[in-house]
């Protein structure tokens, strides 16, 4: 049925494939530009997160007029805009460390329990339409004596 199609002319097919590759390269370049813009925007979102935490601290210290809610709404709105273009946060807290998505920022040593569990998130990671945009920076559990090889060290 498709004997008379492109495969009957490999040279033409190669030419078309090379055009497609060039187009894919343009898409890739465009993607990198989008990534770069989003990286800048995510930095602002990070600051909003820190600000939310700071406002909560202020409230805890008894500062009544801390603009906690306003900043929270601003943060949520920013996430909403990002979600609209396919940028979604990576779930990290409570998950098993996944080096494809998470980067260890620090560890908390515990006497028992599970090793390599994400206890906290220092910086939220994001994907763009399913593709990794930025890894999460996380705090993971380290079980004391959990690494047998450590005892082998000199």
């Amino acid at each position: 049925m498709i004997d008379a199609d492109l495969f009957a002319n490999p040279e033409k097919l190669l030419e078309l494939m090379s055009q497609e590759a060039a187009s894919a390269e343009r898409d890739q370049k465009h993607y990198r530009e989008v990534e770069s813009i989003l990286a800048g925007f995510l930095e602002v979102v990070d600051h909003l997160e820190r600000l939310v935490a700071y406002c909560r601290d202020l409230q805890a210290e008894g500062v009544d007029r801390a603009p906690t809610k306003n900043v929270q709404i601003l943060h949520r709105r920013a996430l909403q805009i990002l979600a609209g273009v396919g940028v979604v946060p990576i779930k990290a807290r409570g998950e098993l460390l996944d080096l494809r998505l998470h980067e260890v920022a620090s560890t908390v040593t515990k006497p028992s329990g599970k090793d390599d569990i994400v206890l906290d998130e220092i910086m939220c990671g994001y994907t763009l339409n399913g593709r990794l945009l930025r890894r999460s920076k996380v705090v993971v559990s380290k079980i004391d004596g959990g690494d047998d090889h450590e005892s082998d060290r000199h």
Partner: protein
């Protein structure tokens, strides 16, 4: 068989492919830079250890710094007891294995997961990842490589790098100096020109300078020098210091002990540096960059002019210029003698660097267009084209572009001089061009009457005491009875393009001749073309429509919504064209349908792979089937990044197969190749 160029860096490594479309290859994480980092991680479920390499290893470093190996390049070829080793050991978080007490092998080892590894083995793990990722990107096995090393690397370090490549399953075509590779990239399209090129390589932490003679595509390294502790990181430190001073002045707070601040400040410094390459001043805006002891969040909002930045970094730039002038003086050259200056390394983007170098040599000579971060790997990739790959290694195909390099140290032997029994006598002096046209000879004599054994230890180095240099190997053999102390012994060294040192010892007046190789090595080229045709529009349109209908029916599940819509529009256009006999619309529909057939993402890759399998040989069919199965399962699992890389790999496999199937029609091209090979024979 495929060869790649590898820039095996201290912090990051890059890989590139040559062969007509020289380009950087991205790794499986879709990044061009692969961190030169190896880590050991214990799997939680099985309790077995696993080695992770690259970005993932760097991401794991904070969890287990002791089991994360950074900057292994600094330890390549290192021996226990060397002075610099202590310095390095202090700066790294991982541990060195204890030196062996009763072994001749004094090579340094690092501990990873409690086990000792040589720097060669660690580097091999990095190279193995690069090889695998390149295979994924290219869709075919990578078998050979040209690997770059710093110009100051000694022979032992170069040999260690070669071994690492071999251990990673690569046939190492050549170990090449980084600046030479950059010059090759620069000279790739200027083979008929004659230049004396100065490569000014200012990276993040190191400065290298080389002078290279380039004549008709031949490269000869005249001189190499540099400073391993000078680079763009010094520029960043000056900016960070300004940020600290600003906070002290404005907020009366010194953040210099705040690690988070220092990390963010370094990032901001890099951003500023970039902004100041195009602007006269730039702002640093760093909200909540530090927190005081009483919990107050502090911001930085400051402006730094290019003038102030340049004032700060001027001493570093001056140092590079001083080193450059010294190199020129050693070669008895003036700036007039340099015809091109090649700027390599990210830090050469700084205008003060460019301007200062331009003032010294003249702006017209300074080349800035070469991508300073990638040109080393790209140059290495171009060099792979000069070899013809074989299963055993490679043959020197071309003579098309030969590299002549220069020895960085003396190569010589330990001998007796007066009472001194550890005299280092150079036979090939430092800065000698190689490959040598003929061996370098020197005549010695036996040290004592009736000497029973002759021992010739070969060293590389600059110290007059042989044992303080680097031992390359030793030739030892028994002597017959009765030789006089004055019996001449001729020792000759030959040094070839692969840095193989062949030492010949001839006891003159006897038939005793001992020859030993103390090192070894070796290398493609494949032009290609394609043309298109056009015919009766109906004869093209009808099969195109049928093919697309088949495509939709078989691969519809793998087509995304956007492509599906465009395919629908193209089919409608085609059918209208047939119904209305509209040739223009018909031609357009053919083009659209053809592009959609091969440009609809995963569905197209599967379609083409299954289609080319019909004409492929057994092995290729197996490979393609594996690629198809992997891609299908990644797609079904929703693993987007894996789908992207597998899809690219399959595309490359398909292209290769199609190129094979069309090769019958390229007899004319093959004639061109024959012409090329004949030229080499006439030279030979």
């Amino acid at each position: 068989m495929k060869a790649i160029g590898i820039d095996l860096g201290t912090t990051n490594s890059l890989m590139a492919v040559g062969g007509g479309e020289t380009r950087i290859l991205v790794n499986r994480e879709n990044e061009s830079l692969t961190p030169s980092v190896v880590s050991y991680r214990k799997k939680r479920k099985t309790n077995e250890g696993e080695i992770v390499v690259g970005r993932q290893a760097r991401s794991y470093a904070a969890k287990d710094p002791v089991n994360t190996i950074f900057s292994i390049k600094r330890l390549m070829g290192s021996l226990y007891g060397e002075e610099q080793l202590e310095d390095i050991a202090k700066k790294v978080s991982y541990r060195l294995a204890d030196p062996p007490e009763d072994s001749d092998d004094q090579g340094v080892k690092v501990l990873l997961g409690g086990k000792p590894y040589t720097p060669v083995e660690i580097s091999a793990l990095i190279l193995e990842k690069l090889k695998r990722d390149a295979e994924l990107a290219l869709g075919e096995p990578v078998t050979h490589a040209v690997i770059t090393v710093p110009a100051y690397f000694q022979e032992r370090q170069r040999e260690a790098t070669r071994k690492a490549g071999e251990l990673a399953g690569l046939k190492v075509l050549k170990i090449i100096d980084e600046p030479t590779a950059a010059a090759v990239f620069f000279g790739a399209d200027k083979e008929k020109e004659r230049h004396r090129v100065l490569v000014y390589d200012l990276g993040g932490g190191t400065f290298d300078i080389s002078i290279i003679q380039m004549v008709s595509g031949q490269y000869q390294v005249l001189e190499v020098s540099g400073n391993t502790w000078l680079g763009g990181d010094d520029f960043d430190k000056m900016v960070v210091q300004r940020m600290i001073n600003w906070l002290i002045d404005e907020e009366d707070y010194d953040p210099s002990k705040d690690r988070r601040f220092l990390g963010v400040a370094k990032e901001k410094a890099e951003e500023l540096k970039k902004a100041l390459t195009v602007q006269d001043s730039a702002e640093i805006i760093a909200p909540m960059i530090t927190k005081t002891e009483d919990g107050q969040l502090l911001d930085i909002e400051m402006e730094i002019t290019r003038e102030a930045f340049e004032e700060d970094i001027q001493p570093f730039v001056d140092q590079t210029i001083q080193l450059t002038e010294e190199v020129l003086a050693r070669q008895n050259l003036t700036t007039e003698d340099i015809t091109r200056v090649l700027l390599v390394g990210g830090s050469t983007a700084v205008p003060l660097v460019q301007n200062t170098v331009s003032e010294l040599f003249g702006a017209e000579k300074v080349r800035k267009h070469v991508n300073p971060m990638e040109c080393v790997a790209l140059g290495a990739a171009i060099l792979t084209e000069y070899y013809e790959l074989t299963d055993e290694g490679a043959t020197d195909a071309a003579n098309k572009s030969t590299l002549m390099e220069v020895t960085a140290m003396h190569l010589g032997i330990a001998a007796v001089k007066g009472d001194h029994t550890d005299e280092f006598v150079p036979i090939i002096p430092k800065n000698t061009n190689y490959p040598l046209s003929e061996p370098k000879r020197r005549t010695f004599e036996l040290a004592e009457e009736n000497q029973k054994i002759l021992r010739v230890p070969v060293y590389e180095g600059l110290n007059p005491n042989a044992s303080l240099n680097t031992l390359q190997g030793s030739i030892e053999f028994p002597l017959p009875e009765g030789l006089q102390a004055t019996t001449p012994v001729e020792i000759s060294f030959n040094y070839d393009a692969n840095r193989v040192l062949t030492v010949t010892v001839h006891v003159v007046g006897t038939d005793i001749v001992k020859k030993e190789r103390l090192r070894r090595g070796r290398v493609v080229q494949q032009p290609k073309k394609q043309e298109s045709l056009a015919d009766d529009w109906r004869e093209e349109l009808q099969p195109a429509i049928r093919a697309m209908q088949h495509f939709l029916g078989t691969y519809g599940d793998y087509i995304d919504e956007e492509n599906r819509q465009e395919i629908g529009e193209a089919l409608a256009l085609g059918e209208d064209a047939l119904a209305n006999e509209n040739r223009v619309a018909g031609d357009k529909a053919v083009r659209l349908l053809q592009h959609k057939l091969i440009g609809s993402g995963v569905a197209s890759q599967l379609f083409m792979a299954e289609r080319v399998m019909q004409g492929a040989d057994m092995e290729a069919t197996r490979e393609l089937a594996r690629g198809v199965a992997n891609l299908r399962s990644a797609y079904e699992a929703g693993d987007t990044s894996k789908v992207n890389s597998l899809s690219n790999a399959l595309r490359a496999q398909v292209a290769l197969q199609i190129a094979k199937s069309s090769s019958i029609g390229r007899v004319e091209d093959q004639k061109d190749l024959k012409g090329y090979v004949r030229e080499r024979e006439s030279k030979g």
